[in-house]
Amino acid sequence: MRPENYQAVKLGDSNEYEIFIGPNHPGIEGNYAFRLMLDGDIVVSGKADAGYLHRGFEKLMEGRLWIQNLAIVPRICVPDPAPMEVAYSMAVEEIMGIEAPIRAQWIRTMQLELSRVAAHLFTFGGHAATTGMYTPMFWGVADRDLVLDLFEDFTGGRVYSIYNIPGGVRRELPPEFLQKLSNLLDYLESRQNDYDNLLFTNQVFVERAKGCGALTQSQALELSVTGPNLRACGLAYDVRRDDPYLVYDELEFDIPRQKHGDAYSRILVRRDELFQSIRILRQIIERLPSIKGKIRTPIPNPLSWNVRKGEAYARVESSKGELAYYVVSDGGDKPYRVHVRGPSSMHAVQTLEFLAKGARLEDVAQIMFSLDACPPEVDR
């Protein structure tokens, strides 16, 4: 026997008890904590507890050069890093008043969509694992790895590519890259049937996910829910279409949406979005070879680069929702202030607390994963 030094906290004469989900728990996404007050199996109230991933990003950025910051921005959201780079680069470009060459914009769009595919494949597995089905996770992560191989091929980095730079992208695509991409898209489409049978039409999964964590459209709007979670409530709002950036206004794609706003609607929206992304990528494969030109607008020596005074609010649609960078420059060689608006900062705190109230203990993990919350975006 070994001595233990624990003391249970007594909560007075009530049937309620407290349970921690996280920070190290399979039912929580990443390093995040959620405290539940339970009565039997029903959640009386939940309280998010963030800060486990806090690095003081915004402070760090104020202490580094404009160009150095490119190395740390993707680290704000690990599963979907590409939109971070693009948003930061776009904000700096807007302050500088320069624009990336058209070819660079197409390549950026391709990078964003590939990143979205990877992130969604990752999410399916996570969501399914919270309901006890692990096979989609194994499949999804393995398929995502193929996307990461492509990333490695054209950016040099598996997860963090650091491929963008204010004014364009770093490198030209390797030869025959588009062919590889096309092959990958064929493969992913051939997997659609498997995923549908295993996950999206699985009777038990549908039963678990339907009606779980349902948001109405007005509640979603009130809580500033964005991205696939908002589209699952029936509002077809997408930054890519409504506040177009890069070349999205030249591309054809639908904005999938569902009516019910529950976990099942959310995962279906993500599924449809995955195939919309594939559709966009196919258009890019078709158009990109005909777009010739530079991939970078020249910028001054980045080590002594003073970005002129100004501010910009750049928004992109990441796989989680509306991602925004607010960058302020006072004319120095470092940013004066960078504010990151991660979509999950809305989803993982207030929305999760709202949805958890009255939910079952079984459903809490599923709600969190169906919102696709990314804790580092909250903590930064």
Binding site: G132, T135, V204, R208, V364
Partner: protein, 295 residues
């Protein structure tokens, strides 16, 4: 001579169960690995796991009841093994019969409940309350199946049942509905998806096992090997005609275990109340219809 023979059987029956059970664990992990498109663990992995857990330098005990609980859990299954006749060895099966066996099969759950209750971890308590609920759910079809089989074979002794099936036809041919009900109960008894409510890592971080470490966890691993073996051999004896030798029995037992495993990795888990609803609805209905035919 007779007592010595019995003693040898009492030692060898659990030992065989342990070794076969470990192979079943390996098979389970291999099946999951193949379904998930990977290679899976090496052949001796279950053995390594158990030896490693027993070889831990430190264990944490939460008191006497915690220790007793694990002993009950393993002991219950050891008791069940000597009640379960295998070719060449009968143990005390002739004296016990299938009714005693089904009581023995409840002891491990109760033992776990005792042990986990002592741990004072809310996750464990929730997990064990779910485990007992699941037991309540699968025991009703299980008892129906046992009752129906016993009535049909006109014997409560497994030896008698096996002999009957060797002479006549296999149970699964004569009472297919009851056999299907038995498969449902088996899935619940093994605690696999879609009835895996008490492990549930994402919800209650592996429920009853949350405070188990070292030898206690090793005990649970041993228990799992016994559990798979018991389920496989019991079902094979009830419906698949047992076996005259290990060569005929073990393939049946492995097949019986492989079936729920293949289903398990393709499904999520139900909620607690859905498990009860489904286990009380379909297998019980099938069992009752089958009973109507038999009676």
């Amino acid at each position: 001579m007779n007592a010595l023979h019995l003693m040898a059987e009492l030692i060898f029956m659990p030992l065989i169960a342990f070794i076969v059970g470990m192979m079943m664990v390996l098979m389970m992990r291999k099946i999951s690995a193949r379904l998930q498109r990977r290679i899976g663990p090496p052949f001796f992995q279950p053995l390594y796991d158990i030896v490693k857990l027993y070889g831990k330098d430190t264990q944490i005990s939460h008191g006497l009841i915690h220790d007793i609980g694990i002993i009950m859990a393993v002991g219950g299954y050891i008791g069940a093994e000597i009640l379960l006749p295998v070719p060449g060895m009968e143990g005390i099966a002739a004296k016990g019969g299938v009714i005693t066996l089904s009581y023995f099969l409840m002891i491990p759950s109760l033992g776990m409940a005792l042990g986990v209750g002592q741990c004072a971890n809310p996750n464990g308590s929730i997990g064990i309350s779910r485990a007992l609920t699941a037991m309540l759910a699968y025991d009703i079809p299980f008892i129906l199946v046992v009752f129906g089989a016993a009535w049909h074979y006109q014997s409560t002794s497994l030896i008698g049942m096996i002999e009957y099936q060797q002479v006549h036809q296999w149970g699964i041919v004569e009472m297919p509905l009851l056999a299907i009900a038995g498969l449902f109960a088996l899935q619940g008894m093994l605690g696999k998806q879609p009835f895996e409510i008490y492990i549930a890592p994402a919800e209650i971080a592996t429920g009853p096992m949350v405070e188990m470490s070292g030898k206690y966890m090793g005990g649970l691993f041993v228990m799992q090997t016994f559990q798979l073996y018991t389920a496989g051999v019991l079902y094979a004896s009830l419906f698949l005609g047992g076996g005259t030798s290990f060569l005929t029995l073990l393939p049946k037992a492995f097949l019986v275990v492989a079936l729920p495993m293949s289903i398990a990795f393709m499904f999520p888990r139900y909620k607690t109340e859905d498990v009860i609803r489904i286990l009380w609805k379909w297998p019980v209905m099938l069992g009752l219809i089958s009973l109507a035919f038999i009676l």
